[in-house]
Amino acid sequence: MTPAVSIENLQKSYGEVVAVKDVTLDVQPGEIFGLLGPNAAGKTTTIRCLCTLTKPDGGRVEVGGVSSIEQPKAARRKLGYVAQEVALDKVLTGRELLQLQASLYHLPKQAAKERIDQLLNLLGLEDYGDQKTGTYSGGLKKRLDLAAGLLHQPEVLVLDEPTVGLDIESRFVVWDFLRKLRDAGTTVLITSHYLEEVDALADRVAIIDQGKVIASGTPNELKDRLGGDRVTLRIREFTPAEEAEKAKAHLSTLDFVREVIVNPAQGNSLNLVVQPQSNPIGPIEQTLSELGLPTFGISQSRPSLDDVYLAATGRTLMDAEMAAAGSRDLKAEKKQAMKGS
């Protein structure tokens, strides 16, 4: 089957800055695909190349077998694009914006009218359709933007950070809607730097870091590949370092424990990687009590996508985020994005 989206060896630089070094990924029809990575990893640039907003320096980008580079117009017909920043004309009503969008996609008038009513209903916007979009809340704006992206029934809906800046409730509305969309056969490609979003939503994931795909598969595959469960142990609320080191020395000798890391950032808590399906809590607590140490808190979990990211890059997504935030020149990036080429 032709992949819904196929990207191969994509490269894109803005002057000196390499935004996308080498991205290769396939999105299958009818799945939700998550592109996960910290800010400035190259997610948005990848999306911009896909949606014909930017010309890549190299590589292949196809939507349903149609090249975004060689046949941009045919590719645009197959794509719906929902940008991170909702750009609505605040003077227009929701319905007027959708009418404009319908004309840009050349829908016949009557079909457009029916389709607009249908989408306003589906997204719970029927009471707001005739209000100016300037009066909308963030959640309503996003929903209208979703409606606009879906007006022409695209094969692939692309959403750049679909829930950034949304309240929890709107976030769940968007998630639910994207699942319905997938179930109806539309392919959904999202970018996100929220682990839980990708974990909850995506059928398959590509983790992208510094312009490269560093891991891809289903969230479960990625976690299983990593192997081992995680145990987080706090001896005291704030454990003295020597106590933590002592516990570490003893816990490392247990046969089901693969690795013990002391995390000074969290009051010297201990992070243990243990063999899956072992029952580690009892023996760990026992070891501690033999050492005369208390247990403030202990929990066991499967590895998260953050652990996948950590294993691949040696830093957590949060750390990467902070580092990127410090080094990023947002103004220059915006200028580049406006230039488009």
Binding site: Y105, A184, G340
Partner: protein, 292 residues
């Protein structure tokens, strides 16, 4: 096939059999119409620009007219009052200023990301974005021109014949088309609205003063004469002025006479057309590159 009935399904599931015939001209008209409609809805809901755009030239007309109320008679020619002299200058200057601002909404669309909405759509041609802005600005200029012609008649500049009004409309169209294209080109070439506004500032009034809008060529210093006689505004103002002063005009009428230039009515129209063509050729690569 329950899936194909869902409104959330891709159209490829539903419409795989029916192929939509390609109709680029119809599509171009549809998208240009929709984009133009958007601009007019904006105008209707935020009419302040239109109101200011009408009030301002009327104030120019009244204040400049009053400024030179007691200018020595015969200075501008036999039996020509200043208001009659001034009206054509204000018509052209107003159309010119409006057109010069045409790029601003496009620039804001770029900055707010609205332009991306247009650029990801399968537009028949992205020149529909340019076409919509041009239609909008030309319409606005006609409304402003009508207001100025009306008030000028009221304060004694006289009313040109129907053919004269038609010629005025053509000249306004020619100057607006070129300047709108220039402004749109700048809106795509400059980094942001601050720079665009700066360009508008340094272009607007200097071009007014370096034209024959407010004073005839023979009032000017030699260098200004030279500048004014290559200023496109002059080529728009002089034929309109001729219409106002001479009810009998033809394309051969000499509208501007200097020691080095004898400009006929027809030649000034051709000059404006040439100006439009040069501007279009200049902005073509910019817009093509943006839209490629």
């Amino acid at each position: 096939m329950s899936q194909s009935l869902s409104p959330l399904s891709p159209n490829s599931v539903i419409e795989s059999q029916q192929t939509i015939p390609d109709n680029p001209v119809g599509e171009f008209i549809q998208e240009t119409g929709a984009l133009t409609k958007r601009l007019f809805i904006q105008l209707q809901r935020r009419p302040s620009t239109l109101i200011a755009g009408i009030v301002q030239p009327l104030m120019w007309l009244l204040l400049f007219g009053a400024l030179f109320q007691y200018a020595p008679e015969g200075l501008l020619g036999e039996g020509i009052g200043y208001s009659q002299f001034l009206a054509p200058g204000i018509i052209v200057f107003t159309a010119f200023s409006g057109a010069l601002n045409a790029g601003l909404p496009v620039m804001f669309d770029r900055e707010f990301g609205f332009l991306n909405r247009l650029l990801v759509a399968p537009l028949s041609s992205r020149f529909s974005i340019v076409a919509a802005s041009t239609i909008y600005i030309v319409s606005l200029s006609f409304i402003q021109t009508a207001a100025i012609v009306g008030l000028s008649a009221f304060i004694g500049a006289g009313l040109p014949s129907l053919a004269g009004l038609g010629a005025i409309a053509l000249i306004v169209f020619l100057i607006v088309a070129g300047v709108t294209a220039l402004s749109l080109g700048l809106a795509f070439a400059l980094p942001g609205h601050v720079e665009l506004i700066a360009v508008i500032f340094v272009t607007n009034l200097p071009l007014l003063f370096a034209s024959t809008a407010l004073a005839p060529l023979n009032f000017m210093a030699e260098f200004l004469k030279a500048v004014a006689s290559v200023n496109p505004l002059t080529y728009a103002i002089e034929p309109i002025r001729y219409i106002y002063i001479n009810p009998e005009w033809t394309f051969n009428s000499t509208v501007l006479e200097t020691s080095w230039l004898n400009l006929s009515f027809g030649a000034s129209l051709l000059a404006l057309l040439a100006f439009d063509i040069v501007i279009l050729l200049l902005i073509q690569p910019i817009i093509r590159r943006r839209f490629a």
